[in-house]
Symmetry: C2
Subunit: 383 residues, 2 copies
Amino acid sequence: MNSTNNDLHKGPMTFDLLKECPETRARRGTIHTRKGAIETPAFMPVGTQGTVKGMMPEQLKEIGSQIILGNTYHLYLRPGHERMARLGGLHKFMNWDRPILTDSGGFQVFSLGDLRKIDEDGVRFQSHLDGSKHILTPELSIAIQEALGSDIMMVFDECIPHPSTREYISASTARSTRWAARCKAARTDESTALFGIVQGGMEEDLRQKSVEGLLEIGFDGYALGGLSVGEPAEVMYQVMDWSLPLLPQNNPRYVMGVGTPENLVEAVSRGADMFDCVMPTRNARNGVLFTSFGKISIKQARFIEDELPIDPECSCYVCRNYSRAYLRHLYQSNEILSSVLNTTHNLYYYLHLMKRMRDAISEGIFKTFREDFYRKRVSTGEA
Amino acid sequence: MNSTNNDLHKGPMTFDLLKECPETRARRGTIHTRKGAIETPAFMPVGTQGTVKGMMPEQLKEIGSQIILGNTYHLYLRPGHERMARLGGLHKFMNWDRPILTDSGGFQVFSLGDLRKIDEDGVRFQSHLDGSKHILTPELSIAIQEALGSDIMMVFDECIPHPSTREYISASTARSTRWAARCKAARTDESTALFGIVQGGMEEDLRQKSVEGLLEIGFDGYALGGLSVGEPAEVMYQVMDWSLPLLPQNNPRYVMGVGTPENLVEAVSRGADMFDCVMPTRNARNGVLFTSFGKISIKQARFIEDELPIDPECSCYVCRNYSRAYLRHLYQSNEILSSVLNTTHNLYYYLHLMKRMRDAISEGIFKTFREDFYRKRVSTGEA
């Protein structure tokens, strides 16, 4: 069953662990879903409202996206999950035939601050669009994700704010584990994968306890939640070092909401397989572009007559065809094409970085790759 | 020399008149330029600031754009024509290798109202971007257009407001003719085409006088200016009926700033060959879409669960892949992809309409085409 080709996969998701780095904990694998294969380590562009902002699906495929992320909270509020189901699901709605991972809606709901209230049942909240009142529960989150036609669903959990008291982290994490069990019980179709999410704040024993609780329930994959919430990078890496080795070898491991290119390299070194982050897309719209030598802000006056591409080492469509001068002009002129081209480049950068890591792991040279990655940034002083 | 293939054309622009409609004055031709051929009647998407808003050049080609229009005023102010020349010209800057027609800057400058002042030499104006002071003359307009690397330049003229007094129209038109002669004298490279612009307001004798003045100077093509300035459609058609038959058979005729699909059909019937208008692109960004049965506003609630494409008779990328429900969702969500997809559809509609007219003229059935075009709109009551 665990074929490594791109054919559609019948039945539940599977994961092939293809290669492990002999010097780090980096791993190369393939996830097989009913909508096609995902080579890991993988980056998932974020498609919040049924679109990866500014990108056509064909363009996403061209730059190598094998999976995208959809947001349960946004799609539940607009256009609504029941309407979406009547329209044939999210894949058809947005013209994307490859896998979709959906978040649980928890992260957005908990971000609403005063507009939400939590209890054992779930979270009461008011829509950021029209103030209407809603209750999101583990059961509803799964129902929404199933209605959207998700290929990989996430359990409904609380992304604990940082910093929080140990007492709060402990209580919240225990509740998230109970919610995870309710999510699994609520699933009606086992060919849709469901991932558990490890919480536990920045506390080693609570992370461990969270992992144990999730393993007892049993999921198709496991995620680290509660990272990229304002903690220093060293703390993030520490949490990965505590948590990732506790997770099963033969399930994918997803580090949620992470992060910078450096974060991705470090997380892969520590055994992570999947990532999502708005950083490449959001930064693109703000004129911040990722390159092999670090980030640049295309709005700067120094680019006004610069004929070079964004990154002379990049072979993306944008770098093959446009100068920094043109991209600066588009940004200054507030042109739609500015967001489109910048997003194309940044997503290519992220997806190509993942490909380079996959290749390096396959070839057994990941550690050398990582050294080169940092050396290039340091040598130009722009990291 | 007048080959009808798409090969690049050395030397000055030429125009092949291929076929004339036996029942109307519609004509089918091909313009040959150093950047490739343009089949007429042709529609030119407007690329104001060095980009057709929301479209990559490859997408423009895919939907059949053989030429686009660039705006002298905007590009003069930002990034500046001298900088543009140093960067290799507009084609290279924006990654567009097919012909570009540039306007003279006159239309935008005259639209500035209180910010501009006109005399025999030219127009003094203040930038809408930073208030800086400039003088645009016929000579500078040509210098800018040449610096941009235009393939077809337009003479610097005044687009006369409507309504104006006969006295004003007469004086302005005479001055525009003097400016047209200065433009021709200022041209330094005869392989760049230069078009004269007929003014004369809505006065038959002044239009005639304008034509005579321009013919005396001699241009590679002739345009009708001063239309689509708020006059009723019947008046616009009247001006075309007065002016177009006076223009030489063997030069292209360009009706500037026009118009609706109906306007295009009527202008082609009257012997016009080229058009530009922001209507398809601007309307797209406002959610107004063109169809074979008339315009629709995609923001309307009636489309919320509508699985049909924008126009079931349209075969564009958008109509092949997306529902009205999705396009409404993107518009309501203020997504970039809304502008991109709507623009793609509307430009395809315009470009495909021109292709259908070209085919109908070639096949000698233009009059039947025109009847069908109107019947379809009337029968659905949405025209």
